[in-house]
């Protein structure tokens, strides 16, 4: 082995170890947050007793924790695959994990010690108006935690952007803009992982710096209450950041589909002009879609809301269509041997595609004004995130665990996750269409059947995820394979 190869394999080992560390954190936090979610459903079902005050703390922690590990898991998928094509820094990747852990400690402390229960969106000026439920320090710890996590992600995406620019010259070329508009041959286009990482970098860099602004302003407001700012502007900034960040997680996780399915089908993922055009359009729309969170704010200028509605109908579609179509053509008659990893990745694409339906319903102004504060909305985003994004991430985890790990239980885990997840999101959607409100700790007797069905679904999901995550953790005993 020459010295260059030795350095290469050493860096590969440390990179794989870093990805494993990410997935360990993701797996453990995912399970804990799922248990918090299950607790909420059981409490609403009146099968267990949870103090309403604690319920809202749990809701806040569940929201922040899940958004955080969705970002972290997406980043792990993205970084693992994109480093095949561009130079990236392992140090920055690890730094992001360290920032995340520091932020997570601050957030958990804010919730379970400080009692912060202002929902993960920390909607200004709620953190400063706790009605005595939490202190200024509790709210500040929460927001400082988000800021610290944002610093890590900002560095990571900037580093990836730098890597993309060093290879492709600019982010435009990394996204495949030239191919999308026919200025360059399709075959010279960036690989799907690079196009997706470019989109994630562009969207998240902008989203995070906007989030940092509103976090800093809110923090100042906590300690100097006479310093105030426009609440509607604050809401716009918060949802700009919040929507972009959570939306981008699925565009990072989808890289798992582009990279893992071809391993099973032995067919390269086909990129063509439509593929690049889809990524360009979705980038533009992810950056402008957030107003659908403000459809109920009558003080918003109407044109923004109308644009928000139209863009939210369209925003996911381009990439979803090329990905779903690409998945089907990649899988069709490939002689693919299904296993847990391939199954989960496939479920992820299907969950994402199906999740569009409730999303479009909620993105429509007349529907939104009656549905947005019902459980329809958690139904919508759990379809996306649980059956789409997280399925892809668990697929990646299972794929990394490799075929050597005990896999007899893995298919059971996948089935439990799929069936439980379906029951769980259907319970939310059904409750939402029956006008059951979201974010209520205590439910009316008429709502209990939905809550109980949801609790059963959630229990199955937790069991399935537990199997898959434990299987991954057990697989860590085997040393890292240094061959690429």
């Amino acid at each position: 082995m020459t010295s260059i190869e030795a350095i290469g394999s050493r860096s590969r080992i440390s990179a794989t170890a870093a990805v494993r560390a990410y997935l360990v954190v993701c797996g453990i936090v995912l399970l804990l947050m799922m248990l918090l979610g299950l607790t909420m459903r059981l409490a609403q079902a009146q099968w267990i007793d949870v103090e309403p005050n604690l319920f809202y703390v749990i809701m806040t922690m569940h929201g922040a924790g899940m958004v955080g590990i969705a970002g972290l898991g997406g980043a792990a998928v993205m970084w693992h695959f994109v480093r095949r094509y561009i130079p990236v820094s392992t140090g920055i990747f690890i730094a992001n994990l360290v920032f995340f852990l520091i932020g997570a400690v601050l957030i958990l402390g804010a919730g379970f010690i400080g009692g912060f229960a202002g929902a993960w969106t920390f909607l200004y000026p709620l953190p400063d108006h706790s009605g005595g439920l939490w202190s200024a320090n509790g709210a500040a710890a929460y927001m400082a935690g988000l800021l610290v996590i944002g610093v890590g992600f900002l560095l990571l995406h900037l580093d990836i952007a730098r890597g993309i620019i060093s290879v492709y010259g600019g982010l435009g070329s990394g996204l495949g803009v030239k191919q999308a508009f026919g200025f360059a041959p399709e075959k010279d286009g960036p690989p799907p992982a690079v196009a997706a990482s470019t989109m994630a970098a562009i969207s998240n860099i902008i989203g995070i710096v906007v989030g940092a602004v509103v976090l800093v302003l809110s923090l100042v407001n906590l300690y100097v209450p006479s310093f105030t700012f426009n609440t509607l502007v604050a809401k716009n900034l918060i949802y700009y950041f919040g929507h972009t960040f959570i939306n981008v997680t699925i565009y990072m996780a989808v890289i798992a589909v582009y990279e893992i399915l071809p391993v099973y089908t032995h067919r390269a993922w086909k990129t063509n002009r439509a593929f690049y055009l889809a990524w360009v359009l979705s980038t533009l729309m992810v950056l402008t879609v957030y107003p659908h969170h403000l459809l109920m704010d009558f003080a918003m200028p109407t044109w923004i809301l109308v644009a928000g509605q139209i863009i939210s109908w369209l925003s996911g579609l381009p990439v979803l269509l090329v990905t779903a179509f690409g998945t089907l053509t990649n899988v069709y008659r490939s002689g693919l041997k299904w296993d847990a990893a391939a199954g989960l990745v496939f479920i992820g694409v299907a969950g994402w595609a199906i999740g569009v339906i409730p999303a479009i319903a909620d993105g429509t102004i007349p529907v939104n004004s009656v549905m947005h504060n019902t459980q329809w909305v958690p139904g919508h985003f759990h379809t996306y995130l649980l059956l789409g994004m997280m399925a892809m991430m668990l697929g990646f985890m299972t794929y990394l665990a490799g075929p050597k790990s005990p896999s007899r239980l893995a298919p059971l885990g996948v089935w439990l996750y799929l069936i439980g997840g379906t029951i769980f999101v259907l319970a939310f959607l059904a409750a939402g269409s029956a006008s059951v409100p979201r974010r209520y700790a205590v439910h009316l007797p008429a709502w209990l059947p939905y809550d109980r069905a949801g609790s059963i679904g959630a229990s199955l999901v937790v069991a399935g995820a537990l199997i898959l995550i434990v299987r991954f953790l057990v697989s860590l005993r085997s040393p890292i394979d240094a061959t690429p």
Partner: protein, 201 residues
Amino acid sequence: MTRGLVLVVWGILWLVRTPLESDMALHMTVQLPLLIGIGYMLATFLRPHEPRWFARADWFGIPGLLLVVFATSFWMLPRMLDLALSDPWIDLIKFASLPLLAGLPLGLSWSRMPGLGRAFLWANFIPKLAAIGGLYLAAPTRLCAYYRLDQQTTAGAALIAVAVALGLSWSAVLFIGSPPFWSKGGENAVERMRGAASGGP
């Protein structure tokens, strides 16, 4: 020659300080940046004479750039804008400290900061500039005793305009990149990728 020019500009700025400071927007978006620019230009001349202990202690440019952050924040406080107007001595301190404690360290330390750190600073500076502008634009009361509310609003809009211009130009540079996005040939991505990947970490 150029050195002299910088000193002349410094002097001229002092002479025209009354008209420039009479308007909040001119004060914040013309005078203060020009003073920082003077220090930045000084750095290009003084770099060969930079004390070795500073070059060594200024690890990755962190202390130097931190000094820039403090010095610029200090002179952007509404209270300091007021004091600079009411007291010529304070204004003199501003005329000395912005070039020497903000512009000069900026010029010396910026090149020591790795690319990722610079990108991080840009990415944080631009939206926060816009946020300060937004606060000035929306504030119902005057923050400076020496400026009218309409001047404050104009200053807010000017700061936002500067932030938008910086943001757009930075995005354009990153998006178009080098070689320029529209150039033809000589940019085989696969070749460049191999080159970068083998040279990379």
